[in-house]
């Protein structure tokens, strides 16, 4: 899952980035509203965490412009404005959720998790596909009841494919989803990651789950 954090407070932005990265998300972060909007325009994010009082472009203007372009990506507003009318204004401008500073980190992560799942129409935190079971909240994947030893990035990859099960996911989409803006687009990190994941998923006699559609991408399906 890929998240954009637009927060002008340096310490808070860094803390959020660290917490989200440790929780398995790919994070792009900026402290400027205009730069954040530029990031949002050019990349696919499952969630945007947005402060309201921002230099460059105000958070509400950011949100309104995003919605004016029929962009329905989930936005969690994070702000020091605590009055009810502020919340109403934020939600009416198109925010999906509203969290007032100061906040508990666990609450933020829970809301982020819920919003990201909603991005894929997933209400429950456990995704099941054939004998594969992925606990999105517990960040654990099992096959045939046996836990799989996955790195955070491998988990995000299988999670992404599982949430879009039955659909062909392009290499570019995986790259967008798993790697931040600093990744080299010409590298073969995606192929390498798929290869490693296949090995970990099908170590024994298990049927292969990840199939390659030549020239198009990858799909999670059973033969």
């Amino acid at each position: 899952m890929r998240i954009l954090v637009v927060e002008d407070s340096g310490p808070l932005r860094r803390s959020l980035t660290t917490a989200l990265q440790h929780s398995g998300y790919v994070v792009d972060a900026t402290g400027d509203g205009r730069e954040g909007f530029w990031f949002a325009e050019g990349n696919h994010y499952d969630l945007i965490i947005l402060d309201l009082m921002l230099p460059g472009m105000d958070g509400l203007a950011f949100l309104k412009q995003l919605r004016a372009r029929s962009d329905n990506r989930h936005v969690l507003v994070l702000t020091a404005r605590s009055a009810v009318e502020d919340r109403v204004v934020g939600l009416r401008a198109g925010a999906d959720d509203y969290l007032v500073k100061p906040f508990a980190l666990e609450e933020l992560l829970a809301r982020v998790d819920a919003l990201c799942r909603r991005s894929y129409g997933q209400k429950h935190s456990v995704v099941r596909f054939a004998d594969l079971e992925i606990d999105l909240a517990g960040r654990v994947a099992r096959r045939g009841g046996q836990p799989l030893d996955l790195t955070p990035r491998e988990f995000r990859l299988i999670e992404f494919l599982a949430l879009r099960r039955g659909e062909v996911v392009s290499r570019f989409e995986i790259e967008q989803h798993l790697y931040d803006a600093a990744a080299d687009p010409l590298s073969n990190v995606v192929e390498s990651a798929i290869c490693t994941l296949r090995k970990k998923l099908g170590g024994s006699d298990a049927r292969p789950l990840i199939r390659t559609r030549r020239g198009m991408g990858y799909i999670l399906e059973v033969e």
């Binding site: 002008d8 959020l16 917490a19 921002l54």
Partner: protein, 475 residues
């Protein structure tokens, strides 16, 4: 507790009762006088009748009057009485109604022109009203030689007062009854009138008691009020407006303080939670500590600035004034900002004029000047211009003006510059500034007995002026 309605009711009822009593008493007395006068007139007529029948004759005085002429003197009816005495005391004639008994004499007898009237009581207990007079009986028309002009007979004529007293008692009862009914009616009327008359006051009281801190926007409508209440409600409305503004100011201030503290608290909390959940490496931990310290310092400076403003606004700041030579003083304060001004490539111009001196508290003045310098150096666009000048004005007042070029300020922003927590950019990116600098400058300037003002003489020039600083007395 006193009550206007109760006091007015008592005063009105007591006043009305007193007036009614006095009026009733007067009416009673007038009627009584009139009735007695009529009674006395009748007695006089009876006396004249008896005098008419009294004649001096050859063998003495003859009262040629029989009770049959006036039945009331008869012993059957016996409601009127008379007795005639000779000057030597013997009774010449008495009415049959006396049944041989005598009437009491008055202390002094009156004359025919001025008879005496008095009340008396018979041995039977009956109350009489009587007339007493002396008269000379006229001569016998057939024998005028016997006429003695000095023969003063004494006559008392009395009549029972029963009817008169009954009439007076009825009058008293009537007046008392009418008075009681009037007082009872007045009581009801007064209560009704007071209730109706004081209804607007009660409405105002009800409205006033419903006002609390959350409904200070309430105003008393004055268009339908009685004229007596209009000035009261107008003053109350003005008071409410002032209270509302004051509460709103405090509410906004509290909200601003809470808002200003939310972000640094969120920063500290998230730093701590992330560090506890995913312990950082040594380098990152050091950075966390540095950031935490910077946040704590920022919060400390915010609290100190708020304290200074509060103390200055409430007059709690001690001021120790002493002569200060401005050029040297400003130069010393500027040294703290010279480096940043150089880094930002600012062009700084000084116009000190004469060697001005002022009398002020050096610590407070430095606080004001340092904030003005900080404002100019940090908000002037890189490569811009800062101009510092001092001049002596009227009445020995000195003005320090600091102007700088600006890009984002507009004249509409100028009145808001001194508001607490106001910043042109609503974002808190520049965490060094809480938007309290100029609010602090204004509060501290007041402690110095000076004023601070702002203006934009040109589209991209901001001037902040500290005026009202006093020059030392000559000599």
């Amino acid at each position: 507790m006193t009550s206007i309605q109760r006091t007015l009711a008592w005063v009105l009822i007591a006043g009305f009762g007193t007036l009614l009593g006095a009026g009733g008493g007067l009416i009673y007395l007038l009627f009584r006088e009139a009735l007695i006068e009529r009674f006395d007139a009748k007695l006089r007529v009876e006396a004249l009748t008896i005098i008419t029948y009294t004649v001096q004759e050859r063998d003495g005085v003859d009262v040629d009057f029989t009770d049959r002429y006036i039945r009331e003197f008869d012993d059957d009816v016996a409601t009127q009485f008379f007795q005639v005495w000779h000057p030597k005391g013997r009774t010449i004639e008495r009415s049959g109604s006396l049944k041989g008994k005598s009437l009491p004499k008055p202390e002094t007898f009156g004359t025919l022109d001025k008879p005496v009237y008095w009340d008396l009581r018979l041995a039977t207990g009956q109350r009489l009203r009587a007339i007493g007079l002396r008269f000379v009986p006229h001569a016998d028309s057939n024998d005028r030689r016997r006429y003695d002009p000095n023969l003063n007979l004494e006559l008392v004529v009395g009549a029972l007062r029963g009817e008169l007293d009954q009439t007076l008692a009825s009058l008293r009862l009537g007046l008392l009854g009418a008075g009681s009914i009037s007082v009872a009616g007045a009581l009801i009327l007064v209560r009704f009138a007071l209730r109706k008359g004081l209804a607007p006051l009660r409405q105002v009281a009800d409205q006033a008691s419903a006002i609390d801190a959350s409904t200070l926007g309430t105003r008393f409508p004055t268009d339908r009020l009685p004229v007596e209440l209009v000035p009261i409600c107008s003053r109350l409305n003005e008071l409410l407006a002032r209270l509302e503004a004051s509460f709103e100011h405090e509410r906004r201030f509290s909200a601003d303080v809470a808002h200003e503290l939310r972000t640094p608290i969120a920063e500290l909390r998230s730093l701590s939670e992330v560090a506890l959940k995913w312990p950082p490496r040594a380098v990152e931990a050091t950075r966390n500590y540095e950031e935490s310290l910077a946040i704590a310092r920022r919060m400390e400076s915010l609290v100190l600035a708020l304290q200074t403003i509060a103390r200055s606004e409430t007059g709690g700041t001690l001021v120790f004034a002493e002569p200060i030579r401005l050029p040297g003083f400003l130069d010393r304060v500027w040294t703290g900002f010279a480096s940043l001004a150089d880094q930002r490539d600012l062009r700084v111009e000084w116009d000190m004029g004469e060697d001005l001196r002022v009398v002020a508290d050096p610590i407070l003045l430095e606080m004001v000047i340092a904030n003005l310098f900080a404002n100019a150096v940090e908000y002037t666009p890189a490569g811009g211009r800062v101009h510092v000048s001092c001049e002596s004005g009227l009445r020995d007042e000195v003005t320090i003006a600091i102007s700088n070029s600006t890009r984002d300020l507009t004249p509409a922003d100028v009145p808001r510059l001194f508001e607490r927590f106001w910043r042109k950019d609503a974002s808190r990116t520049d965490s060094r500034h809480a938007g309290l600098g100029l609010a602090l400058v204004r509060a501290v300037a007041q402690c110095l007995g000076a004023r601070v003002s702002a203006g934009m003489p040109g589209p991209e020039t901001l001037v902040l002026r500290l005026t009202g600083l006093r020059r030392p007395a000559e000599g």
